[in-house]
Amino acid sequence: MIEYRNVTKSYGGKQVVKNLNLTIADGEFVVLIGPSGCGKTTTLKMLNRLIEMDSGEILINGKNVAEYNPEKLRRNIGYVIQQIGLFPNMTVEENICVVPKLLKWDKERMHKRVLELLELVGMTYEESGKKYPNEMSGGQQQRIGVLRALAAEPPIILMDEPFGALDPITRDSLQDEVKQLQKRLGITTIFVTHDMNEAIKMADRIVFMSGGEILQADTPEEMLRAPANDTVREFMGKHVAKTRMDDPALHCGDVMKKKVLTAESSKKTLECLELMSAREVDSLVVVDSARKYLGIVTIEALRERGEAGRPITELLDTSAPTVQVDEPAQQAFGKLLASKALNYVIVLDEQQRVVGIITRTSMSKALASVVWGVKK
């Protein structure tokens, strides 16, 4: 068990961590998240004393970290950094063995451990053991970075934005791998990130920090359901698809389709007919040159009243349902059900410009994401 008790740290008079209290259970995966400068990395690094706290104490299984020799302490806490930092003068095997070597393991044990670890991430010794870091991709390097941290079987591992420099696909698969490893080995993990998606994916518990304080510490589910305040909500809003229809935070803009087939009011009837048949739609949204909403024109109106060469403004139907982009999505849902003639609602911004439409399909997708958690 790890306990932060009234931990404070200042740099040049500015408090970056304010009287922080946090208890982390054995085997727990805790993600520290928050805007940059919120003190999350400082909080992480005070645990292995890469940064010394000003006051308070951090206990590991009841023993204050200040009582340990810092080097010995760090050898028992795995550490992974964003810049990977594999030693370029050492092979993969030597890199993995850095800490075991400091702990004076015998050669046989070290070699066995290397084989074991490489197998954990689906690599073979023959293929990778003698390679140097610069002969591997960034993702492979960070895999080894994680193995280096795990090598001496530490009960705790610290990760400081470990996947921040990787491409999205590699990041995704490493997140999965690390999460699985962590679960299987039962290692207490503290993980710093500023990516809410990553936090939700990895964490048993998310600790949201801002201005050196913990604003909320909860399971991802609880965090999503009930953000403690606006700061948290706003931060999550940026990163996570909103998932509740009755949540006033879910707006029309969140569920709309952004691709809208529009026609400028200067267009003539035949052009519009051509456009509709080309895209296989039965109505067009008509806008002026500034994309301001004027109305719609339906294929029926064109057929019944249209004369070749006449401007479409004569056929404009202005009764179509519209919503504002920041209105609750429920509004659109209601209007969509009420409208018989049209199967979509037009979404406008403050300047009455067309920014999207909500169709029955986009509505059901949003609903599905709530019911089954399917991502948009």
């Binding site: 810092p70 080097e71 550490y79 594999l86 370029p88 003068n89 850095v98 140097y132 002969e135």
Partner: protein
């Protein structure tokens, strides 16, 4: 002059001169390197002092080796020790400068990773910083070696042998043969030693740190 005559006259002298010259270079570069690496490491631990010391050292490096030999000659006299000390001092500068620069330029991420792994400051020095600085240090050693071969020629100026003896005497007596006998082996020695250190550097640089060229 026939080749036979030439050989009889100079072979032994030349052999001895080459060995003396090599001896000067080897001793000076070894001593200079050891001192330079120790000083270089210490300087990286004293960043504030180094700010002043490094520029001063650069200035000292511009002093020609002849000055060291000259001054020491006045104090110590016409003995091999004079040459060895002067050349060692001269060999210190390039190695010291490169050791310092090599260590300072090690990227911080490696230091942080090493600290995070629980290495002590000395362990970081020996396992991470020095190995990563090694290519730069080797470049310094190469410079020191080539310079030393060059300046060791001046040992003859105070009668301490080496290949300079031929050049020096040749210049003094306008004897072109003597000049060539000294100059060519000295040139070859410098090129070979430089080349040898290049090879050594490639051999000792781990594959992971070799730059593609």
């Amino acid at each position: 002059m026939t080749f036979q005559h030439f050989w009889d006259t100079y072979a032994l002298m030349l052999g001895k001169a080459i060995l003396t010259h090599l001896g000067y270079v080897f001793v000076a570069v070894s001593c200079g390197t050891v001192v330079a690496i120790i000083l270089g490491v210490l300087l990286t631990r004293l960043p504030k002092m180094s700010k002043f010391i490094m520029p001063v050292l650069s200035v000292f490096q511009t002093i020609p080796g002849i000055v060291f030999i000259g001054i020491l000659f006045i104090y110590i006299g016409m003995v091999p020790k004079t040459v060895l000390i002067a050349l060692s001092i001269y060999a210190v500068f390039p190695v010291l400068k490169n050791t310092y620069a090599g260590i300072i330029n090690v990227e911080d991420k490696y230091r942080e990773a090493a600290r995070g792994c629980g290495m002590s400051s000395w362990q970081i020095m020996f396992r991470v910083e020095l190995p990563l600085a090694m290519p730069t240090i080797m470049t310094g050693i190469r410079m020191a070696t080539v310079y030393t071969v060059s300046w060791a020629v001046l040992a003859a100026m105070i009668g301490q042998g080496g290949l300079g003896e031929f050049i020096y005497r040749g210049l003094g007596t306008n004897n072109n043969t003597l000049i060539i006998i000294g100059a060519i082996p000295a040139a070859i020695m410098a090129v070979l030693l430089g080349h040898g250190i290049d090879r050594l550097q490639k051999a000792v640089t781990p594959r992971g740190m070799r730059k593609e060229d």
